[in-house]
């Protein structure tokens, strides 16, 4: 089973501007601009690793969305974007040599 988890979430500086957020990532020196759903993914994953299904279930409930295929694809896109930024990683929980 593939699990997503945050990378160095505790080092991020997050400014909340209401419905948008600016996030400073010390590892890269970059500043990112995120919406509500993106920041909630990071916060959720910072608490514990989760599968894409678990993430979608929680976020769909939180944002009153239907967790259909399109919703899942959008969450996956955000996760892969986060992965390229070095904010999240995925690992196979069943393999003892990973994480």
């Amino acid at each position: 089973m593939m699990y997503w988890h945050t990378e160095h979430f505790h080092t991020l500086l997050i400014e909340d501007w209401g419905d948008e957020y600016t996030v400073f990532q010390p590892d890269s020196g970059k500043t990112h601009f995120f919406n509500q759903i993106s920041i909630q993914i990071l916060i959720f994953l910072s608490q514990h690793p989760a599968t894409i299904e678990q993430i979608c279930t929680v976020l769909a409930k939180q944002f009153q969305q239907n967790p259909d295929k399109e919703f899942t694809q959008n969450i996956e896109k955000i996760l892969h974007h986060f992965e390229t930024l070095g904010l999240v990683k995925k690992r196979n929980q069943g393999n003892p040599h990973d994480g």
Partner: protein, 301 residues
Amino acid sequence: MMVNQIPFKEFHLLLNQGLRVAIGPFNVCIQTTYKPLAEQLYQLYRHYRTAQNEIAEFHVRIVTERSNKNPFEKNVRFLLDGQSPFESFPQAQALAALEWGINLAIAVRVSHLLLLHSAVVEKNNHVILFPAWPGSGKTTLCTVLSYRGFRLFSDEFGLMDPQQGTFYPIPRLMPLKNESIAVIRNYLPEITIGKSIPNTQKGTVAHACPPEESIQQSTLTAKAKWIFFPKWIADSTTKIETISDSEAFMLLASNAFNYEVLGAKGFQAVAYLIRTCNCYKLVYSDFEDVMATLQRLIDET
């Protein structure tokens, strides 16, 4: 001692050796033997304080050299600590080269302050920022405001102490460009503006003197309260539009010269500014109209 308290002969001699002048929080040591530049500086720097016995943060020189293209002509070259960051300039552009060079020195050497590319004035002990890239008319607007009841901090740099959240004044000559020169000569006929310097990389440039009071008060820092992202559009009425905090953050962070260099400090400084300031987009063309609008907003908040 102020420059205008020194006879020209002595001023010229000091420039030959290295004249130190206090410009905001910095002392700049200027050295040149080029007499026409000395004459221009004597007129335009007359309200600045000399700092001969103080440490200078920047050592700049304007030297003359033979032109490569025409051996019968001479050019001038700007040097910062002996290094030449630019190609040489025609002699007639010596003042423009010096002023651009000092700006460059500030932009590349100052790393302890957040450096915004912004016109900055002060009113009622609060700073107003006009962050903008070239071509937005910020120098022209800043020149008008600084001679109509606002204290000049800078037409070019917002120098913010990221720890204290305060801005340092750095009132320097304001380089008016092209059509703005005639506009300001007509609108503010009483102010001192240097000779027009044609054919520079930015067209024709003429340097307006900062108001004497702004130079005298250049040790008085202040915190920011308003941020206007200005845009001059011909014949437009003045329009003020509130912008979201996240958009203001993005605009301000991308406007800073050294935001990325400062890292977390830069992020926190920009966030502090957005939290403590009222942020607007400003479109204008008429000086009276824009001043009335600014005054109304200042009175309301």
